[in-house]
Symmetry: C2
Subunit: 219 residues, 2 copies
Amino acid sequence: MISCDSKQLRREGLRTELMTARNQVSIETPVTAIDWRLGNLEGTNIRRSRKLLKDLAEVYPNHASSGLAPDTEVYSVQWWAPAREGQEGGLLWGVTHLQPGRVGDEFFMTHGHYHAVETRAEYYTAVSGKGILLRMERGGRTWAEEMLPGTLLYIDGRHAHRVVNTGDEPLVFWACWPSDAGYDYATIARDGFGLQVLQRSGETVLVPAAKEQNVTSID
Amino acid sequence: MISCDSKQLRREGLRTELMTARNQVSIETPVTAIDWRLGNLEGTNIRRSRKLLKDLAEVYPNHASSGLAPDTEVYSVQWWAPAREGQEGGLLWGVTHLQPGRVGDEFFMTHGHYHAVETRAEYYTAVSGKGILLRMERGGRTWAEEMLPGTLLYIDGRHAHRVVNTGDEPLVFWACWPSDAGYDYATIARDGFGLQVLQRSGETVLVPAAKEQNVTSID
């Protein structure tokens, strides 16, 4: 039922085109497809990026002493941008694979960012794994929501958002956001989030972030 | 892997909250979840609507002689609107269950509509079933794309869009669209689409729409 088989897509596409050729109206085969089981995007024009531990130095200032290789993958992103960045009213679609792991006692997580345009919302929805969405208002108030397979999260355009993998397998989640949302990573790189997600005695705990991160207020 | 169990969501939520109570920072359990297997939305504030054959009279002018009951369900929609309709930058998320069936030789389909704001795009992505997305530009040029499990379709804000179920099971697809896209159903109700999707001798065929639908140009 819930599956994507690109060979099947092509085969069915071919068959349907042959079938309709006699009627002079063809059915086009879409170029982009989702693999719901694995959380992958397939097709042309899919962009990909990887974030390694060394790319997250400001998130994990002590990563050098963690014993992890600097080239350890923390997460990867695949996205489709049929609208150009900055275009009003367009939408982008992507998927993130956030690996399980910790730097010391702090779980693997995404950089996190604000949208440059604060009216622009976003959806996150998880397909596998287990984790936490950290949300933060400008000013530092931070809170946490669970992400489990099927969770659908609406992210207000004013909220910084960061995902943390608290499980033992990759946390995979789809995202859909406006092509003119823009990205403000700099504020997070400077101030961090108001909460950290740590493993302590085998439990997942949330603790106020270290003071040097200059968060001005924490609930 | 790809599953949503609302009981599990609640149980995990409870456990995590208890676990974090000692640390005075709780993890919230999101109120909305997706059942990827069945294509359902669960949670609070989910809206629902059903379209019966009698609601689609302008789409199927001859439905009374089809032998189908006027109360036959053609499709249903579930959607979540965390942003208010008309709000700039917000996003809505929904799922459509389009039943298999025909009125005479014409397959079951959605009303179809233009967005009132023509810069506002939309994504459709199918999880089960089989069908066709009809797209039409103002002026009438119409074309068809396949929808199979995993298909991800980007709908330009200028294109009218209608989905047709050409299979034997419900065609289920997710949608994500801007909360200020708006809906222009009236143009389609008046002019129709440039193509009809029919079953002829057991095959799925596309034919130019009947002339009385006033479509001005067809590719």
